[in-house]
Amino acid sequence: MKNTMNQSEMKTSDGSGNKTVGRDVIRPDALEKVRGRARYAADLRRPGMVYAATARSSVASLTGLRVDSEDAERMPGVLRVVTAADIPGSTQVPLIYMDQPFLAIDRVRFHGEAVALVVAETMEQARAAAARVKISGEPGDLVLTPEEALADDAPVIFSPPDGLRDAARNVFKSYRICRGNAREALERSAFVIDREYRTPHQEHAYLEPQGMLAEPMDGGCLHIYGSMQCPFYVQDAVAAILGWPRSRITVIQTATGGAFGGKEDMPSIVAGHAALLAWLTDRPVSLIYDREEDFRAMSKRHPSIVRVIIGADARGHVTAADVFVTLDGGAYATLSPIVLWRSAVHAAGPYNWRDVSIHAQAVATHTVPNGAFRGFGEPQVVFAVESAMDELAQRVGKDPLTFRRDNIFQYETDQTATGQTVTQPSLMEALEKATAAVAWDENYHPPADRPPDMMASPVRGVGCSVSFYGVGLGAGGRKLARAGAYVQVEVDGSVRVFIGNTEMGQGARSVIGQIAAETLSAPFEKIHVGRADTSRVPDSGPTVASRTTVMSGNAVMNACMTIRASLETVAAEQFGCDRDALMATGDGFACRLHPATHMAFADTVSHAAAARLPLASSSWFVSPPTSFEEADGQGHAYMTYVWSANAVAVEIDPGTLQVKILKLAAAHDVGKAINPREVRGQIQGGALQGVGFALSETIAYSGRTPTIGSMPGGRMLNPGFSGYICPTAMDAPDIVPIVLETAYDNGPYGARGIGEPPLIGVAPAVANAVANALGVRVRNLPLCPEHILEAIQKQEIAHE
């Protein structure tokens, strides 16, 4: 497709001397997407392609699983029905533990678990036949909450394999972080708050459901195309289920219609299934989920129960924090251990506690496995600790903003819960800017005593929160903290760039292209960032944890520096000057000593090619070292942190108890905004997901939520967009993005990352604003009218 847009609308340089970095370039994928040309997994067609569908359990807990596929096999168009017995390689999905089967074996642990696969000539035939697969067994006892799972006589959902540390029956993993003696310090504290907070499931609600195409190729190879964040996880999974060497499996990411963590590990299962069927039938197999099964079977944000005990001294300085985090992991471990680690490391917030104790555990239940979701275990603990900080401020008798100013990280001597000394904490600037944007000083009032009458006019309030976010996988995932890149400059001056991280909507291809253009001194239009392809770059870890800009960005920079040496060699020769005297113009080079000289990028390339200098390079970047001591949870947990503050002004209708956000200001220190427009887009989009988490999003299960009639327990009651309430265009508040740029030394052009932080601190800021407006504290998300009403009723009882 001819790109008929030009970049002339780019803003001028930001004064840094950078030509492309720091500009609002038009992202290279936007035009094909807006024209409907981008091809997503469900848009792919192949000659001879057949379609797959998944037969799922409609019961949450079964033992003695039996599968009868006779009827299904006789349905029109059906080629084959497949169960776990047909798997030639590993029956288990390779991830942190190997506890989840690709297809259920003997037992079913959640409603919606995949039991069998059907492959047929058309998608309708495959789905019709999948509905005819008979799944039976003995219904087992149900465990739907962490409290039930931890009871002494609880049925066993998970038992740790031998040798697994810090796990127990129905406990996937636990962590302990300990500095000083929190309990003693709290006993000595003048003010103490001890509260429990709860958060629900959150669904990613990416607009494109999961989908894969597996295509058998010559030479005993298999190509996988699909919607994903982590092609190397998919490669692992396909190699495992088929028992093949990785070298015969190529995974190519297609346009991905949103992911938000929901396409981190889940696509491994989808691709494993498609690959198995492609191998068994020797046909290209398309496996596309429908929305309901995507809701039922794909991972969610972990529900949490977080108990926060925090104290302050008589002058209002914080003393100690004792935090207990319980995450509901669902039926299988998936990513729970590492999500839990991030929860634990951030559970005490960005405050100067002298003594800290954190206990964290992830527990098994008979519900959908929970995994990665933007924020990765942080939104839960940040909701708890930031709500508790407001409650403590009130106890101390300070307003929440002053109380935070007095206690947040400010100096490079301040230490996180893991004892990591912080660098460049720009939290105060973020907090001041965010609160100023909602006119805090004018709008803050001491919280109301009690809620207004039902027919009163709307009440208003403001709230804020601070948070920090460790960029990358940190010490919890340090094995994967590396990334490769491959850059090849063609003789015509166009440039191909390959990285191991994916574009899932967040703008990675733009940012990576800008870094390459800047480093090569090439026009941005000359750069083509290819799709993630496991055959082009080595395993670069997952596209998660806001790590792509730092990890792949550095790798690309390194590769481009090697090529730039070739280009500079010929330019210097042409100008008759030293390489030191060259300057990059954004399109080739000039010589500082002779201002009239200039050699365009394409000419430099052409000369370098003629001189047979190397114009291609692969490179490897390894993240700065991190550490974590399992015994006491001390260490240099992450390479760097993004500092964030959110401030919210709300209006509440005292009758309906509906919360309307008048303004949400979100300040984030991203180090360097490579593409400021896309950074603002990340902030606004992430913040709106945070608004959904704050106000309306939750998953209901029968047996846990009141249900009509005698429905069996463990069924998801709202598996679709009509029952799962995410914000529409009419619900979206005014979101003001505030971008701070304190350059990070190890980041490409100073960048840190921005994908996840925007979601994290929104919910507590809203909860604090609601408490300010109504005088009622809601400690369980979402802040829906029903929960607010419950809190009002509790408070009224307490008053009486």
Binding site: R27, V34, D43, T122, Y206, M454, E790
Partner: protein, 473 residues
């Protein structure tokens, strides 16, 4: 098994001829038969809007349009904007791209089509108009702001794509279980011989039936559809002999704008504006909402408050008139016989009647009622002459509060009278606890709803009767 049918329609300036089963969605026709994959599938139930196309110039969800209803229509898809070669990028697309309104891109084609639907009749929309037009297009990436800014940057540009003549041909080879009988005149319906073996459904706007057909709803889609979409006798809104008669095929969009409805049944217009999204309102019909028999159906409380009768015809020619509050037996089940079709609703028109509607919702659009309240009061000056108070989603079917008249008739709308009406309504309601709302909250919303509607009716009445001083007895 159904026969496949061959139908033609105008598509992107050209002509499409497709052979496929009659009940499959237009979305499948576009994607599977014609390989126009710019129209996306994000949910199959009309909630996400990723499949939005223009149907005779109006944005609709193509997943909810059955193939049998596209014959002779004009369909425009995102591909109409995809000019190849050196043609300049369409200004609308250009605006979206340069404002950063495109991230993952999956919702984007649908957003474009909804935007075209809006801009075609409103070239300089306010931000609120944009929000309303896009409320049926979920975007999970951008936070919507960039999309709003992009659309506001366009000043009266022509948003229609440049048509290019092309012939499109394609087919879906499968058959499926649904057959469709089109009905253009009520006489045909009356003459229809309904077989016992049929699992019959009436098809109107398709906004509920197609959800089941796409496998996303709980209910079955049946195997025989009677398509009423082209039955002109179901499309009327008129006042005859002091009665408003509204055909069952009238859409929510029409109810929103019809001047008679706005004047004489404002509660109905208010309810209509709050249904679903622009795409749903363009297709969903009043009759469909009634026949679907949902406890949360917005038409029930409003029509009950307006003292409405539902008129039906039976195959064989018989007709019935049923008070709307008696139409439903239990959730999802009406008292209608197989083949009995809702033709119109009739309610009295009275200049002295004021009416209002309140809906408690989990979000601002695409929302099922947690509870709804509709009130119709016929006023004699300040005094209530007749009162009808109806509650939606407050029981297995609409609750018409019998004691409301007792509380209100012969009195002014005093605080005491309103409070008595609130108590009577809460007593009459039987709301449930479910995942959409708690019983406690629903009860509170009955009170809030009644008090708010009463307050607004009291204001309406003050305005409409300038001689508001008490009349001599």
């Amino acid at each position: 098994m159904s026969k496949r049918v061959t139908l033609s329609f105008k598509l992107n300036g050209g002509l499409a001829t497709v052979t496929a089963p009659p009940a499959v969605s237009l979305q499948r026709i576009l994607r599977e038969a014609l390989n126009l994959t710019g129209t996306k599938n994000g949910c199959g139930e009309g909630e996400c809007g990723a499949c939005t196309v223009l149907f005779d110039g109006v944005a609709v969800n193509s997943c909810l349009v059955p193939f049998c209803q596209v014959e002779g229509r004009t369909i425009v898809t995102i591909e109409a904007f995809d000019h190849s070669g050196d043609a300049p990028v369409h200004p609308l697309l250009h605006a979206l791209v340069t404002h950063g309104a495109v991230q993952c891109g999956f919702c984007t084609p649908g957003v474009v089509m909804s935007a075209v639907g809006l801009l075609n009749h409103n070239p300089n929309p306010t931000r609120d108009a944009i929000r309303e037009a896009l409320a049926g297009n979920l975007c999970r990436c951008t936070g919507y702001d960039a999309i709003f800014r992009a659309l506001q940057s366009l000043h009266s540009v022509s948003v229609m794509p440049v048509p290019r003549y092309r012939e499109y041909r394609g087919e879906i080879r499968e058959t499926d279980r649904v057959d469709v009988i089109p009905v253009k005149h009520l006489e045909e319906l009356k003459a229809l011989e309904v077989l016992d073996s049929w699992d019959l459904r009436f098809l109107a706007g398709g906004t509920d039936l197609m959800v089941s057909k796409n496998g996303q709803g709980k209910g079955s889609a049946g195997d025989m559809w009677i398509d009423l979409a082209r039955c002109a006798e179901l499309q009327h809104i008129r006042i005859v002999d002091g009665r408003m008669r509204i055909g069952s095929g009238v859409t929510w969009a029409e109810l929103t704008t019809d001047p008679h409805v706005r004047q004489y049944a404002p509660a109905l217009a208010q309810a209509a504006t709050q249904v679903g999204s622009a795409q749903i309102r363009a297709k969903g019909t009043l009759g469909g909402n009634l026949a679907n028999a949902s406890p949360a159906g917005d038409s029930f409380p409003v029509l009950a408050a307006l003292k409405t009768h539902v008129v039906t015809v039976n195959p064989g020619g018989g007709t019935r008139t049923i008070p709307v509050e008696e139409l439903v037996i239990r959730p999802g089940k009406t008292c209608l016989n197989s083949g009995e079709c809702i033709v119109e609703v009739i309610f009295p028109v009275d200049a002295r009647r004021v009416s209002g509607f309140f809906k408690s919702v989990p979000r601002c659009a695409q929302a099922l009622a947690k509870v709804s309240v509709a009130i119709g009061l016929t006023m004699d000056g300040n005094v209530v002459e007749e009162a009808r108070v109806a509650l939606g989603a407050a029981g297995p079917r609409v609750v018409l509060v019998e004691r409301a008249g007792h509380c209100l008739v012969g009195r002014a709308l005093s605080p005491d009278a309103v409070s008595e009406c609130v108590s009577a309504s809460i007593d009459a309601a039987a709301p449930i606890d479910d995942f959409r709302a708690t019983r406690d909250y629903r009860i509170r919303m009955i009170e809030v709803g009644i008090r708010r509607v009463m307050a607004s009716l009291s204001r309406q009445n003050q305005r409409s009767s300038p001689e508001s001083s008490p009349r001599p007895e």
